[in-house]
Symmetry: C2
Subunit: 514 residues, 2 copies
């Protein structure tokens, strides 16, 4: 590996003759700074951190998938406000003792709870670089803006959207959904929301989505002043995809009643079961009725990167807006997601607010470029584009597609183990990477099966074996194994089922003997 | 410096007897991962990055404060979507050549544009740790939740708010203002916004703030469906603070007209001039009329950490909600801010949305703790609390207060240089850390002064000397030097004025000879 050092680049820059160097001035004795007096000590600490953190990730398989936060750590994290400075190494030692051992756990190969990505060693290092530049990617003639333009174009291409699609990096799918629905409200609700707001209202705007839609859509509707009442939940079919006929019927009914249908949210990968709505048919309905089509593809849109999985996303390219998480199935460090909006003018108008202190200039740092702060809720914005740029370049798109296929194959493998067991039953179809199942030993009624399933969830975590999460399907409790994990191996699912079978056996013995 | 190594902690954990180790399983030959085949190469790259990035920060004073992004870098950041993997070291080399040299510039000692913090070497290292744990601080029994509880309590105490104040870390002041106003809308607008939304409207809700208020308040009002029309801008006095009598008169008028006054936004440090409203008097008015008091203290609330500056914030402790940036005057790495809401139940109700897959359990990772995802727009949330915890502990609150005082003294020093110069004039009072001024050589009319001031802004950046920004005050263009920079020395302001005087002299010669 050969790397251009920063010193060499600086030197080259001097040789090229940049701006003249400015005169260095020593600090007055009493001038304070957060920079260290001893840079060498910080360097040594940084090296130790790199070694420790890479060891932490390399050896993650040795550790339990979860363990409770002990009283000692809780006590160490409930201290008086520190007035005085401390040695950075001592603070780091406290971190190592009280914080590091009790993570969420999503870096672990057997963490399959909710939908979380695993991160990566190179992604971790990219955060160090973000921290060094400490950029504010709001706008202007600076590299972070060009990097973000680049990754937005890449993400649009990854999802098969036009290469002039507008986009912005945000903290994740929830805010990406908010951005998409803010644009939808502006473009299609028929009201000057930004100017007049509520005062302009005549006829309630209605937004459609399936009953399986993520709760961030409800949250966005509440935030936007539409209210949860504006969110019409359409029933799903047996495969947990939206009933498109029921959708169209609801739109027609609402129009007749004087309401204002303005938006459909379709799912590419529901959180409960990984179902993907029939995007092409939903797009037809949206088009027929003049509604905005927003696709929540938080994790499921990543299937677009796999030639084997891509077909199920047919119609995604007709979306007016798309939400995608980058910290989930693309494993970039938390938190980062992307909102894409087809119509650039609508996107910008949804958030731009003029201010004299933000006026663009023709020269200098404030020169006109993409004003990313006009495309989402943040004005000051971290340089999260860097982790995306470095990770996409380092691993390449093909690798992410391959990992998605691997997780889908693992889900099928786990489903087959569940189906082969007399003690377990699938709770839903497994169309993608999510496996919902429950304990169902012969002779136990539904309530007893639910109780046993809850016990399994707790014990498999408490034993440190694995972290599934849970959900309710058809009114019954289910274990939920959502496989967005590049560290999982097929043998990890064998282990999960083996341990679950052991616990079931123990529980049934306890039950029989009591 | 002695540091407990991670290996030692793991060993100690094994000795204590934690959960039994689970059987390691080798990967099948065809199993893919984002982990490196060669950990040692990544370790070497990590060390090089630490060395380079610390050098980058240590030597920042050698470099120009800004330089344009050259065509070569723009071309390198406009490449086809990478399908294949690349060597991480090669990607890093491209970063070093094309990205690193063209930052926003806020790490530089003479960057005083907009309001941006400088970051710090230890803050940078804390991002590495965040990247290793890659936590999702949404809720549950995991250390990131306890760390965030700790820093929220610390921040409330720093600002003199009750220690049971509810709070959440967000991306910055814009979202913190959105959170505060969402809570205000819920509590005081007299409408079931979350449930019925617009359908419930009778009488337009009105929010009050001064004409100097940050545009994120307009943005929040638009997002919330209130519309910019709901934002009543109250005039300021000569010191750019809100005219409290005019505020009260407007509230009374609006009530008479059937509108619904529900919230006052007061400023602790305006973006244009650093003015702080008379918070105690505004609090009196809010209390008298039953309005929610939100304080935008994005940077100005940091004055609370200085015994010498604290007095001007009298009344802050009566706020119903407060927005504070941590990446500005507290120099934590971008992006991180905090929303505090006095009433816990209102705060939670503003964002909580039930979902079966998020239901808390009594045992395991999903056990009940603070559900931070119920307190703001994000469900998945990065572990930005770590940088706050480490930085507050490492530097101590007293140091931040001292640095704020230093910046305020530097602003006074610069103001005195401006006042002493025949060629410059202050454009506004300098109550805190923001100095607005313009060129005003004898004999030039207002238009010529504005044009000259614009030229100064461009040239001082193009020469790499310093990055001020700009604003309009009383309809005229002004240079704006906002000093939230722990690397600035008093001599840096001497240099700024010296160079500005040189440019003015050159421009006047050019002018006279043309």
């Amino acid at each position: 590996m050969t790397v251009a050092t920063w010193g060499a680049v600086l030197q080259a820059d001097d040789d090229r003759g940049g701006p003249p160097p400015v005169r260095p001035m020593p600090p007055a004795d009493d001038e304070a700074t957060l920079d260290p007096a001893d840079w060498e000590a910080v360097r040594a600490l940084g090296h130790r951190m790199v070694d420790d953190m890479l060891g932490y990730l390399r050896d993650v398989r040795r550790r339990p998938a979860w363990r409770p936060v002990p009283a000692s750590a809780k006590a160490a994290l409930d201290r008086p406000l520190p007035n005085d400075a401390a040695d950075a190494a001592d603070v780091y030692a406290d971190f190592v003792e009280h914080v590091l051992p009790y993570p969420t756990g999503n870096v672990h190969p057997r963490f399959w709870g909710w939908v979380m990505g695993s991160g990566s060693p190179t992604g971790m290092l990219s955060l160090l670089l973000e921290g060094a530049m400490n950029a504010n990617a709001f706008a202007g003639d600076q590299s972070p803006v060009y990097v973000e333009q680049q990754v937005i174009a890449w993400i649009a291409e990854m999802l098969g959207l036009p290469n002039d699609t507008s986009g912005v990096l945000v903290t994740g799918g929830s805010v990406a959904n908010l951005v998409g629905l803010t644009a939808a409200r502006r473009a299609r609700a028929g009201i000057d929301f930004d100017g007049l707001g509520l005062a302009a209202i005549e006829g309630a705007p209605v937004l459609y989505c399936s009953t399986e839609t993520h709760n961030s859509v409800d949250k966005a509707a509440a935030t936007l002043g539409l209210g949860r009442a504006a969110v019409r939940k359409i029933p799903v079919r047996a495969d947990y995809t939206i009933d498109v006929d029921a959708l169209e019927a609801a739109i027609i009914d609402d129009r007749v009643l004087g309401r204002r249908p303005f938006c459909v949210v379709a799912n590419a990968g529901t959180v409960n079961t990984g179902a993907t709505d029939d995007l092409a048919r939903v797009a037809d309905v949206a088009e027929r009725h003049g509604l905005w089509l927003h696709v929540d593809g938080a994790f499921g849109a990543v299937a677009a990167l796999s030639p084997a999985l891509r077909d199920r996303l047919a119609g995604l390219d007709r979306a007016d807006s798309v939400a995608l998480d980058l910290h989930k199935w693309l494993h970039m460090p938390y938190d980062v997601g992307c909102a894409l909006v087809r119509d650039r003018a609508t996107h910008r108008a949804s958030y731009a607010q003029p201010a004299s202190y933000l006026a663009r200039q023709t020269r200098g740092l404030a020169a006109e470029t993409t004003t990313f702060s006009d495309l989402g809720p943040q004005l000051s914005r971290g340089f999260r584009a860097l982790r995306v740029w470095m990770e996409l370049r380092t691993h390449g798109v093909a690798r992410y597609g391959q990992l998605a296929e691997q997780n889908v194959a693992q889900a099928r493998h786990l489903a087959s183990l569940v189906e082969a067991s007399p003690n377990f039953a699938l709770a839903a179809p497994v169309p993608l990477n999510v496996v919902c199942f429950r304990a169902a030993p012969p002779g136990l009624d539904a309530a007893a099966c639910d109780a046993l399933t809850r016990e399994l969830l707790a014990q498999v975590q408490e034993r440190g074996v694995a972290v599934p999460s849970h959900t309710m399907l058809d009114g019954r409790f289910a274990l939920r194994v959502a496989i967005t994990n590049h560290r999982s191996r097929q043998s990890d699912f064998d282990l999960l089922m083996q341990v679950l079978e052991e616990i079931v056996a123990e529980q049934l013995v306890t039950r029989d003997s009591s």
